[in-house]
């Protein structure tokens, strides 16, 4: 009877790109359906909506348009901060991806972050200035390097630009875009196609690999669908494990599910590069983002541990 009380449908918000590979795997291999069935929930349907960016995803989850969404750490922290204590409180469901945000440049004069100080005719492209995870990462790097009052000193070099457009601008070289804060597949392309050099990576700032993409959902949904919730968690853990075990098949699955310009071999190469991406369910290196956002006033609640903004059900996974 408890099965009848739970939802018969799970709705996911998906986005384009390699970072969301676990979700793609869970969906294509029908892992959620499988685990729901195993949990005795009968046939559940999975509905996937594709979104172009984080803003729409947040709206979708808050307005109840989707049940699970995947996104970066700063958006999760903000959602958690604003909804804390309410019945739509949002917390992380499970970590999907560890990934690096890397700053690349084609400017021969730029070797380290110090070289940006006072630079002319040189702009850093990132998805959106000030509010994107890349912008936060840059500020954290600047803070670490130049001190707390200089955290945003590089902001005036940044411009908002979608990844593909920034990549095209770097490639053409005719625009002032000389640096690009990229993730896969653009970081791979930047190195391979135009020999851009890495200035630093978010792993340098965090002091090791950190969680980049997490799945999150609301308290309400979790409380109403406890078994289904567990089935989703299990499905995504299995997806992570499967990618780890079958990287080649995972690359092919991705290639078939999206019109990627890269071959399956290239994709395999990308997801095998541990300095770029790892599909892991442990939560690492997220608290420094929380500390930074709290310091700058973007979130009001300071979590004491990552467990504050992840559901108890994933606390069994490692984290720090």
């Amino acid at each position: 009877s408890s099965a009848a009380a739970e939802a018969s449908k799970v709705r996911f918000a998906d986005q384009i790109g390699l970072l969301y590979l676990p979700m793609r795997v869970a969906i294509e291999k029908k892992l959620v359906e499988k685990h729901a069935k195993e949990a005795g929930l009968g046939d559940v349907t999975v509905e996937v909506s594709q979104f172009s960016g984080g803003g729409a995803v947040n709206t979708a989850i808050l307005s109840g348009g989707v049940d699970f969404a995947a996104g970066g750490i700063p958006p999760l922290l903000k959602l958690w901060d604003r909804t804390k204590g309410t019945d739509t409180e949002v917390r992380g469901t499970i970590s999907l991806t560890h990934m690096a945000y890397k700053l690349f440049t084609i400017d021969p004069n730029v070797k380290t972050i110090d070289d940006y100080v006072g630079i002319q005719g040189h702009r850093i492209a990132l998805p959106s200035v000030k509010v994107s995870t890349q912008a936060v990462t840059l500020a954290m790097a600047a803070e670490k390097k130049f001190g707390q009052d200089k955290a945003f000193s590089l902001d005036n070099l940044t411009v908002s630009m979608p990844h593909p457009q920034a990549y095209a601008a770097m490639k053409s070289g005719s625009q002032p875009i000389k640096s690009h804060f990229a993730t896969l597949p653009f970081s791979y392309q930047l190195v391979k196609e135009i020999k851009a050099r890495q200035v630093f990576s978010s792993y340098d700032v965090a002091g090791g690999s950190h969680t980049g993409v997490v799945l999150y959902n609301t308290k309400k949904w979790k409380d109403e669908n406890p078994k289904l919730f567990k089935a989703v968690v299990d499905a995504f853990s299995e997806a992570s494990q499967w990618i780890k075990d079958n990287p080649k098949e995972a690359a092919e699955l991705f290639k078939n599910s999206e019109k990627s310009p890269n071959t399956a071999e290239e994709i395999l190469e990308m997801i095998s590069d541990r300095s770029e991406v790892e599909y892991r369910t442990d939560v690492r290196g997220t608290l420094i983002y929380a500390e930074f956002l709290h310091r700058t006033g973007d979130i009001k609640n300071m979590p004491t541990s990552w467990k504050d903004y992840f559901w108890e059900s994933v606390h069994q996974f490692e984290g720090d």
Binding site: E47, Q50, S52, G55, A56, L62, H163, P164, A168, K171
Partner: protein, 298 residues
């Protein structure tokens, strides 16, 4: 009549000439007076050729620009590349699917928007307060970007087409209502009086007198509404993305831009432009049969 010197001027300065009178010549019969136009004259009125020339000119200018300025094809592909991508996308049937996906939603949004605009303007012409309501609501809501409405739209209509239709109605409604209302207000007072003389009031007056009399303005509103429906749909699809593997032309454009298929992005945009030209021909045909035929517009 007294005899005077023909050709000379009278004291008042008028040149004198003889009078004459003549019979009316062979009365041209009805057929001659109202002769049918020749086929050639019919053809010359056709403007398809001239419009095709404009489209061709735009394409040539584009090709020349990309050739000469040597821009990065990733930023701005040439016409040739774009056309190739267009054919490829047409061949594998994807483009048609996408266009159809968008058109369905578009037509629904457009139709509903027009309907609401009609309601609102009928309300607006019926009283001074109605007119104030229309102008104030338009002033308030028209400047709001669709993106700002998306959250509400998702809240009320969920993630599917209804949400898209909602934001599209928003972009069609105000433009059409503004033009229609302004057209109504410009209708000649005499024609309005004629309509009322024959017992027309309210909705019937609007339907039988105001709408045809303001048809030129309404058509303009419809053209603008159509264009803005496209704009909004594409922009909204970019944000909303696709549902269950569906998705229209906007998503096609976004997906391809993410995957660095700039030629396909431009193929998508070119499709929008060509559909625009097609629809414009439709509007033009309506114009010719209505306002132009009625002598209300050149």
């Amino acid at each position: 009549m007294s005899i005077e010197v023909i050709g000379a001027r009278t004291p008042e300065g008028i040149v004198l000439r003889p009078e004459y009178e003549r019979p009316v010549e062979t009365k041209p019969d009805a057929k001659d007076v109202t002769r049918k136009l020749s086929t050639w004259e019919h053809i010359i009125g056709n403007e398809m050729v001239r419009k095709a020339a404009v489209v061709a000119l735009v394409l040539i200018a584009w090709q020349l620009y990309t050739d000469l300025a040597d821009v990065q094809p990733l930023v701005f592909p040439s016409v040739v590349d774009t056309l190739k991508a267009l054919f490829a996308s047409m061949m594998d049937g994807e483009l048609f699917l996408r266009v159809w996906g968008s058109l369905k939603v578009l037509l629904a949004g457009y139709a509903i928007g027009m309907g609401l605009a009609a309601l609102l303007t009928v309300f607006a012409v019926s009283s001074r307060f109605g007119s104030d309501v229309l102008s104030t609501l338009t002033a308030m809501f028209n400047p709001l970007p669709a993106i700002a409405l998306l959250p509400l739209s998702m809240l009320w209509f969920g993630l599917g087409s209804p949400s898209l239709i909602f934001v599209m109605v928003h972009s069609v409604l105000w433009a059409v209502a503004l033009n229609t209302h302004s057209g109504f207000r410009s209708v000649s007072e005499t024609q309005r009086m004629v309509g009322r003389n024959y017992g027309l009031k309210g909705v019937r007056l609007v339907a039988k007198v105001l709408i045809p009399a303001a048809f030129a303005s309404i058509l303009t509103g419809m053209k603008i509404g159509w264009a803005f429906a496209w704009r909004t749909l594409i922009a909204a699809e970019l944000v909303f993305g696709a549902n269950q593997g569906g998705g229209g032309l906007g998503w096609y454009i976004f997906e391809n831009s993410q995957n660095l298929n700039t030629d396909r992005v431009f193929a998508g945009l070119l499709t929008v432009m060509l559909i625009g030209v097609l629809v414009e021909s439709g509007f033009r045909a309506i114009e010719k049969r209505t306002v132009q035929r009625w002598g209300m517009q050149r």
